[in-house]
């Protein structure tokens, strides 16, 4: 195959990956930005979203579109509620101590993973795409659903942006992010804001899971990979910075696709994880953040 279609394909794949990554990473970034919590269980919320989407598809009769739409509604609500409860029951109780939260979210990771195994079983679960149409180029075929996920991801990110900028909830979140003590003094219910942020972060991951599951199968171990990649994105983009996260998601998504054209994907992954470590060591404010602003 010539290089041009090769690159076109890699570019398309990169775009799809970038859009899913954008959702999961924004959830992680939001939680870190507002709460200063590194949520290691984030990938498991993504996995739960995918499994719930499968359950909706499998148990709701009718065309696959119905199951898909149901999944798109049920998964974020259920996962959001679970995350809300987890925040109240676990994170709040340890006062959001940064190291303690990491250990506790690792605990959540194991609980959610094993819970999914017990509930949904070990098999990879395939989900029908809501529509099934392959776009044919002269060289290869490409799933139209994948392009649809890109569109949905962009819509959702725009929605999050509106929520953060225009709504009262967003204002409360930004105020809390800016200064927790002052927010408390102004009578902002910081505890509730935290729970809401944790839930919204988890919902972003769950939606990403729903979107991705017609492309990849739902499986109880599927959360690890997006977690690590989201880490990469959030750190390269600057911890807690939303525009930086979006930029980094596109960069990492595209470069991962393009890099693996020329190198072994394992090598590409080694390089990208090392990149994260080195960014944190030598440029902890991220690659896209203006220096001087508190990361």
């Amino acid at each position: 195959m010539d290089l041009a279609p090769y690159l076109l394909l890699a570019g398309l794949e990169g775009l799809v990956q970038a859009s899913v990554l954008m959702l999961t990473a924004l959830g992680l970034s939001l939680v870190f930005g507002v709460m200063r919590v590194v949520n290691v269980a984030h990938g498991e919320f993504y996995m739960l979203g995918a499994l719930i989407a499968w359950a909706c598809g499998a148990y709701i009769p009718g065309p696959p579109v119905l199951g898909f739409v149901a999944g798109l509604l049920v998964a974020p609500l259920a996962v959001g509620a679970l995350a809300w409860a987890a925040d109240r029951a676990v994170l709040q109780k340890i006062g959001y101590n940064p190291e303690g939260t990491i250990v506790s979210t690792i605990g959540m990771l194991y609980i959610l993973q094993q819970g999914a195994l017990l509930t949904f079983g070990p098999d990879a679960r395939a989900v029908d795409a809501p529509f099934y149409y392959t776009i044919r180029t002269p060289w290869f075929g490409y799933s139209s659903y994948k392009l649809f996920t890109v569109a949905v991801a962009i819509l959702l990110v725009a929605g999050l942006w509106l929520l953060m900028r225009k709504s009262k909830v967003g204002l409360l979140m930004r105020a809390t992010q800016f200064d927790r003590e002052t927010a408390l003094n102004f009578g902002i219910p910081v505890g509730k804001v935290y729970s809401a942020v944790f839930a919204i972060g988890a919902m972003m991951a769950a939606v990403a899971g729903v979107l991705v599951v017609p492309n990849q199968q739902a499986h109880y171990l599927m959360g690890t990979d997006p977690l690590l990649l989201s880490f990469v994105v959030v750190i390269v983009g600057g911890l807690g910075s939303i525009p930086g996260t979006i930029a980094a998601a596109v960069l990492i998504g595209l470069s991962d696709g393009l890099l693996s054209v020329f190198f072994s994907p394992t090598l590409a992954k080694i390089v990208s994880t090392l990149l994260v470590a080195l960014v944190l060591i030598f440029r902890p404010e991220g690659l896209f953040t203006v220096k001087g602003r508190r990361a």
Binding site: R36, V38, V90, K93, I94, P98, E99, G100, I102, V103, S104, I106, G107, M108, L109, Y110, I111, Q113, Q114, G115, L117, L118, T224, L228, F231, I235, S264, T266, L267, K269, I270, T273, L274, V276, A277, L278, L280, I281, F282, P284
Partner: protein, 318 residues
């Protein structure tokens, strides 16, 4: 001069009891104890950094893996004798942890956790990437002639259960005594100083970066020693041992037993290993129980079992 005599006596007593256990325990528990001792060495290495120097790493599997691979590969490809392979494992993990420490210690707190996590992930992926050498995911089974060695004229057969147990115990005891002298002496005092108040320690004239680097290197080396020991005692090396799960095990064992206590890692490793061992026959959800314990310990006993005892009753239990 021995600084904390009571603790030293307790350590000697623990070693004596462990030695005696092999005559009291069932066959299986002796085997289990062998594994526990090796993993406890790993946790002790981890505890050096987390408990004593106050740096929480999420990537110690890379050092365990470094020792495991350096020892195992030298035995597999060069046919080096077991003691030589063991030494190679220790030296390799010392060099590796020194280099990683040089970089990672430029960060602290959450950044340090993520940096160590990322380095470990890269190391894990490297074991897969170089699978032509490492055997990758499937790993390598060490040849049968690498299962015995002669020590001072005695033939040590690694397939014999008592030999395995006593070898593991001897190395565990050496590491424990080494740890005692490191943590209860001037170096340990410096580790406590950077843990409790790093800026103040700098203003007392110490290059705290170097102090941390010392803690990091000792920690990584001891973890690597455990990895080398595991690989040689069990005759298998594989990338699973460099995976995230093993970093978490070291953290879990230390956290349960008591970070910053000499015997905490042994206690934590014993409790968790036996718990998982008993539960796995009953339920597939034993990892879920691990998760619950992580959350509960973190909530109610952030200082672990021995740490809580030290706080309430025995301040010398360090």
């Amino acid at each position: 001069m021995i600084h904390n005599g009571r603790l030293f006596a307790l350590i000697l007593a623990t070693i004596a009891v462990l030695f005696a256990l092999q005559f009291a325990l069932s066959d299986y528990l002796v085997l289990a104890a062998t594994r526990i001792l090796i993993m406890a060495v790993f946790a002790m290495g981890y505890n050096m950094l987390m408990g004593y120097a106050g740096l929480l790493s999420l990537g110690h599997a890379m050092f365990f893996g470094a020792g495991l691979y350096a020892a195992g590969l030298s035995s597999y490809y060069w046919g080096s004798s077991l003691p030589v392979s063991f030494l190679i494992g220790i030296l390799a993990s010392a060099a590796f942890s020194f280099v990683i420490g040089l970089l990672a210690l430029r960060t602290t707190g959450v950044s340090f956790m993520i940096v160590t996590l990322m380095f470990a992930q890269a190391a894990y992926l490297a074991t897969l990437y170089f699978s032509r050498i490492t055997g990758g995911d499937q790993g390598l089974t060490l040849p049968t002639d690498a299962r015995s060695f002669s020590l001072l004229g005695h033939q040590m057969d690694m397939t014999s259960d008592p030999v395995r147990f006593n070898l593991a115990l001897a190395i565990f005891a050496l590491v424990l005594v080494f740890m005692f002298f490191v943590t209860q002496g001037p170096l340990g005092r410096l580790f406590a100083a950077v843990r409790e108040n790093e800026p103040r320690t700098r203003m007392l004239g110490f290059d705290t970066y170097r102090v941390r680097l010392a803690a990091f290197t000792i920690s990584g080396t001891v973890s690597g020693l455990a990895g080398a020991l595991y690989g040689l005692v069990f005759g298998y090396i594989g990338s699973a041992f460099a995976g995230f799960h093993y970093s978490i095990e070291a953290l879990l064992f230390t956290l349960v037993g008591g970070p910053g206590t000499l015997l905490g890692p042994l206690l934590g490793t014993t409790v968790m290993t036996m718990l998982i061992d008993r539960l796995s026959g009953l339920t597939t959800a034993y990892l879920m129980i691990v998760g619950v314990i992580l959350i509960l310990v973190n909530r109610w006993f952030p200082k672990g079992i021995l740490g809580t005892i030290r706080e309430r009753a025995l301040p010398w239990l360090k």
